[in-house]
């Protein structure tokens, strides 16, 4: 399995000179696990770069959405594959207690917010309410579970032949938990991340910033590290960087974590980074 990070920024795109090293595009990752198909997770602005690189022999794309906050779907209409009649595209995402995924996505993918309606897209498109539990995609078994974040939000665990990737870009497991993360059964997302080779996890805030953002649905860097340690993760990718954190700020925040004292590999997410899951080499 090869993982590529196409967008690593949280909340809003931040295309500025002082964010070019880590990247300013919002959440999007790609997991390539089978020939002629690919799995994309989230449709933030990072997804636009994938569209330019879709191979001509690609037959199927599965797009897994964690939730429908705007910066996670902002790039959806710009996926080049949506306009290819030969391509089979499946979009998976959480429904809500009152609306199916198609209805909820249509609020954005329709005028006046977007010129093209979902039904007008020329690709062979299927929309699926993400099942809570396990389902199979080409090359990977996927497990989805609701996690702690405002509104219906799922995290994903993808298990392939060479390893396991967990993706929880918007997640506040420490919210209200007095013993976080020492009680696995009572920790949001724990089963999804347990033993993962690669954990791509929300780390929006510096630890001192977290108390001012309690309940906003995001984690601090220290909380992401604590969860990864508790869940025996091999490699943590802190993700969803705060738009207020420029490259120098992120350098400073992560320099303070070196060296990891217990074998956990920590590599802050950078746009364009690639990793072969199951291999020893870091990004």
């Amino acid at each position: 399995m090869e993982v590529t990070l196409w967008g690593v920024r949280g909340s809003i795109p931040t295309p500025r000179p002082d964010t070019v090293r880590y990247g300013g595009n919002t959440s999007c990752a790609e997991v390539a696990a089978a020939p002629n198909s690919t799995v994309i997770i989230d449709a933030g602005t990072g997804i636009c770069a994938i569209g330019q690189q879709l191979p001509a022999d690609l037959e199927r794309v599965d797009l897994l959405l964690t939730h429908l906050h705007m910066y996670h779907i902002l790039g959806l209409g710009f996926v080049a594959g949506l306009y290819r009649p030969d391509l089979e595209i499946h979009i998976w995402g959480p429904d809500s207690t009152v609306g199916r995924l198609r209805e909820r996505l249509s609020r954005y993918m329709s005028p006046p917010l977007f010129p093209v309606r979902i039904r007008e897209l020329p690709c062979r498109l299927s929309l699926h309410d993400a099942p809570l539990g396990r389902f199979e995609l080409p090359g990977v078994s996927v497990t989805a579970a609701l996690v702690c974040h405002p509104g219906p939000t799922v995290g994903y665990r993808l298990e392939g032949d060479t390893g396991t990737v967990a993706y929880l870009p918007d997640h506040e497991p420490a919210l209200g938990a007095c013993q976080f993360p020492d009680l696995p059964r009572w920790t949001s997302g724990f089963d999804l991340v347990a033993g993962a080779d690669l954990l791509i996890h929300d780390a929006q805030y510096a630890d001192p910033e977290y108390p001012d953002h309690l309940g906003w649905g995001h984690s601090s860097i220290g909380q992401a590290v604590a969860l990864a340690n508790a869940a025996d993760v091999r490699h943590l990718i802190p993700f969803h960087h705060d738009p207020g954190h420029d490259d120098d700020c992120l350098d400073d925040l992560y320099e303070a974590l070196w060296p990891a004292d217990n074998g956990l590999l920590i590599t802050p997410a950078r746009e364009g980074a690639r990793l072969v899951v199951g291999a020893q080499a870091p990004i």
Partner: protein
């Protein structure tokens, strides 16, 4: 297996609230009670942990207004759990500290997305003079 996030958030809310609260899973196991409930019951959650339905539903000797023992299925929490509807009642218990208390109890089922049955919650109030 971990608990569903709705149950986790219910526990976290309960841990901050001043009303005594029970949270049970779909099988009726008492998976959490908060500190105010500890005072009511004379038991510490950290000491007893989770408790099966047959234990918690009888251990506190619930009795009706006539002093007759209440069967587990008549308790509001069990009604909420088994019939998936809210329930409210007033009865007496005897906590493990030996004290008898008159309680009002409101219980409701926890129903998650996709109609998932996630258990039930009971909120207790000790009866005050003038309450009916």
């Amino acid at each position: 297996m971990g608990y569903d996030v709705e149950v986790i958030l219910m526990r976290q809310a309960a841990s901050y609230l001043a009303m005594p609260i029970f949270v049970v899973d779909p099988k009726g196991n008492l998976v959490y009670f908060n500190e105010p409930a500890e005072e009511l019951l004379g038991l510490r959650y950290e000491e007893v942990g989770e408790m099966p339905a047959e234990e918690w539903s009888t251990i506190f000797v619930p009795t009706d207004k006539n002093g007759d023992p209440m069967p587990p299925e008549a308790l509001p929490l069990m009604i909420a759990l088994q019939q998936h509807r809210p329930a409210h009642d007033r009865f007496h218990i005897q906590g493990l500290d030996g004290q008898k208390r008159e309680l009002f109890v409101t219980a409701f089922p926890i129903i998650g997305q996709h109609a998932r049955d996630l258990g039930a919650v009971a909120i207790f109030w000790e009866a005050q003079p003038g309450w009916r």
